[in-house]
């Protein structure tokens, strides 16, 4: 060779310009095929986002309620009877190292609750009556919805605080605080209504009376049904190990020790399988979107043979043509993926706000969505780009 030629060159920035130019020339087609990708990505982002937001809500709830509550409930005796604990258990458990608060409720199995004394005895509504210690409210993180909690004074009177479901079952709204209800064969005055108690749902369908009031007006003997124990968070396992033996030294096997926050944590884990299923559906939508992009690109190559021929005559190598169409497919997919992420985030934020949850879209989800988009766009662009590059210049130019 007598002259060495400077090779044909295409600047990287110009590859991007070429891709954008190719898309700008056919806006409607671009929007429609990007939409396929956008729907797939948006579905996946929304599914993951909503699920993590819901989990964030449960975690926030756990954070507020604390995971350091233990309950020591009644097991059954060897003979199948409901077990109880001696009143002294409160003081004994309180002496375990790491225990911050101990409270208790005691079931009054014979007492039934009615709206009035005219209701037939069989229609009791399933509301359980418990004598409650005054520190129950704080220990189990319960809150008063209306009225007030028992005080040292009202605890000795025929006064009752109703759980949320018990109140609605009796048809007592917050305006009816101060009304009498027929409880255990005598009138008690409703002084307060609780909000739903997340850690101890059992209380929602209960009527709570004072410890001394129970002894004075109903035949309550002071036996404990369930102990609720708040511990130093670091000591929860050691307290848990000692709790049954301390609460009932003679029959520790009759005490069921549990950690109420475990139920909430289990709920947070439960929707993982469902999320996986929806994520799969999103992936199918994404795949269909990718096929749409491939289809658009194949048609584009067929339509633009003259352009390809012209570019080849101006010095474009096969590689340059391949890059141009591959870049166009990637850009098309990115356009779809980008808008999909935005749509998915909006849907997640809207739904979470509607549910009163915190919005939580992990960064890896957006990153993963972008990566999936690039992968799909690349796969979809590969074949059309090869095809465009393989086209002989003469054949391309003859197609006018």
């Amino acid at each position: 060779m007598n002259i060495s030629l400077e090779p044909a060159r295409l600047l990287p920035l110009d590859i991007v310009r070429l891709a954008a130019y190719g898309l700008r020339a056919r806006p409607l087609r671009v929007v429609l095929s990007a939409l396929g990708i956008a729907i797939g990505i948006a579905a996946m982002i929304a599914v993951v986002g909503i699920s993590t937001s819901s989990r964030a809500q449960l975690n926030q709830l756990l954070g507020e309620l604390g995971t350091n509550l233990l309950s020591a409930g009644p097991g059954t005796t060897m003979f199948g009877e409901a077990a109880t604990m001696e009143p002294e258990a409160i003081a004994m458990v309180g002496r375990i190292a790491g225990v911050e608060a101990v409270t208790a409720i005691g079931l009054l199995p014979e007492a039934k609750v009615y709206r009035t004394n005219r209701i037939p005895p069989s229609q009791s509504g399933g509301i359980a009556v418990y004598a409650a210690r005054l520190d129950l409210l704080d220990t189990v993180s319960a809150r008063i919805a209306a009225g007030s909690w028992l005080t040292p004074a009202t605890a000795s009177f025929p006064a009752v605080v109703l759980g949320s479901r018990a109140a609605s079952r009796l048809g007592i709204g917050s305006s009816l605080i101060g009304q009498p209800i027929w409880l255990g064969g005598r009138w008690f005055t409703v002084v307060g209504i609780l909000e739903p108690v997340s850690l101890v749902p059992l209380l929602d369908l209960s009527a709570l009376i004072g410890w001394p009031g129970g002894k004075a007006f109903l035949d309550f003997e002071g036996d404990i049904t369930t102990l609720y124990v708040r511990t130093d968070p670091a000591a929860i396992e050691s307290v848990r190990a000692l709790l049954a033996r301390t609460a009932n030294p003679e029959q520790p096997n009759e005490v069921d020790v549990s950690r109420p926050s475990d139920a909430i944590a289990a709920e947070a884990a439960a929707d993982v399988a469902f999320t996986g299923l929806l994520l799969g559906l999103g992936a199918v939508a994404l795949l269909v979107g990718g096929i749409g992009v491939a289809n658009t690109m194949v048609i584009s190559v067929l339509e633009r043979r003259a352009e390809i021929g012209l570019r080849r005559s101006q010095g474009a190598t096969r590689g340059h043509i391949r890059l141009q169409f591959f870049g166009e497919a990637l850009l098309l997919a990115l356009l779809g993926g980008g808008s999909g992420i935005v749509i998915g985030a909006i849907v997640t934020a809207g739904y979470a706000r509607l549910q009163g949850w915190p919005v939580d879209i992990p960064l890896w989800v957006a990153g993963g969505g972008m990566a999936a988009t690039l992968l799909i766009g690349g796969l979809a662009g590969l074949y059309p780009a090869m095809r465009a590059a393989r086209l002989a210049p003469t054949e391309a130019l003859s197609a006018t």
Partner: protein
């Protein structure tokens, strides 16, 4: 550096099915020459254009363009040759719709690896050279046929090619627009570029320095105008 910009020796191009585009053609064109390749349709002149323009390869024989043996060049070298040395002008212009004259011409420089600002600067100069300095922002649909072809010529000459190949450059134009294009080609030739015009128009061919006539894939006549 050899004197010939184009040197074909015993070139044959056979297509599938026993059809010959070119049959044993030998032709030498010097640098800066102005040549018409004439013939009726089907005579092989388009195949000739493709072979000379390195868009197609010969089945046998030697093709040397600008001193390069085409058979020994790979795709990327051929692309370099086209990008740096050869300009094409087509009958139907091949301008990008919706793109201004300036950018159509500037995009002709895309594969030379020159930055966009410099491409536009050169494009402006080339459009000025073809008398379209006042049409920089016009899109193809806003221009007449003659203006479109002059834009296409500007695109080819913005790369300052050593060889300009024009395929029926006046074929889609009325006679007065065609005349403007012919004048432009003559001017380019005067400035030192080798210009090869492929045409079936004998009147056009007669105005060029040399006419190579083709029929059935063979070169049947090669005469110089004696002026």
């Amino acid at each position: 550096m050899s004197d010939a910009i184009i040197s074909l020796r015993g070139v044959t191009r056979a297509f599938a099915g026993g059809v010959f585009g070119l049959r044993d053609v030998t032709l030498e064109i010097a640098r800066g020459e102005l040549v018409a390749i004439v013939g009726p349709s089907g005579s092989g002149k388009s195949t000739m254009l493709n072979i000379i323009g390195t868009l197609d390869r010969a089945s046998s024989g030697t093709v040397e363009i600008d001193g390069h043996d085409v058979a020994r060049l790979k795709d990327s070298d051929l692309s370099a040759l086209r990008a740096r040395r050869i300009g094409f002008v087509f009958q139907h212009f091949h301008l990008s719709p919706g793109v201004s004259a300036l950018d159509n011409v500037a995009d002709g420089l895309l594969y030379t690896g020159v930055g966009r600002a410099e491409r536009r600067r050169r494009a402006e100069a080339a459009l000025d050279q073809v008398g379209l300095a006042h049409r920089l922002g016009h899109r193809p649909h806003q221009m007449s046929g003659g203006e479109k072809q002059r834009t296409a010529i500007a695109r080819a000459l913005a790369r300052r090619p050593a060889l300009l190949l024009a395929d029926e450059p006046t074929g889609a134009l009325d006679s007065s627009s065609g005349e403007g294009v012919v004048q432009l080609l003559l001017e380019l030739h005067r400035s030192g570029t080798a210009v090869v015009v492929i045409t079936h128009d004998r009147d056009l061919a007669a105005r060029l320095d040399r006419q190579a006539s083709m029929r059935d894939g063979e070169l049947v006549d090669d005469r110089r105008r004696t002026a």
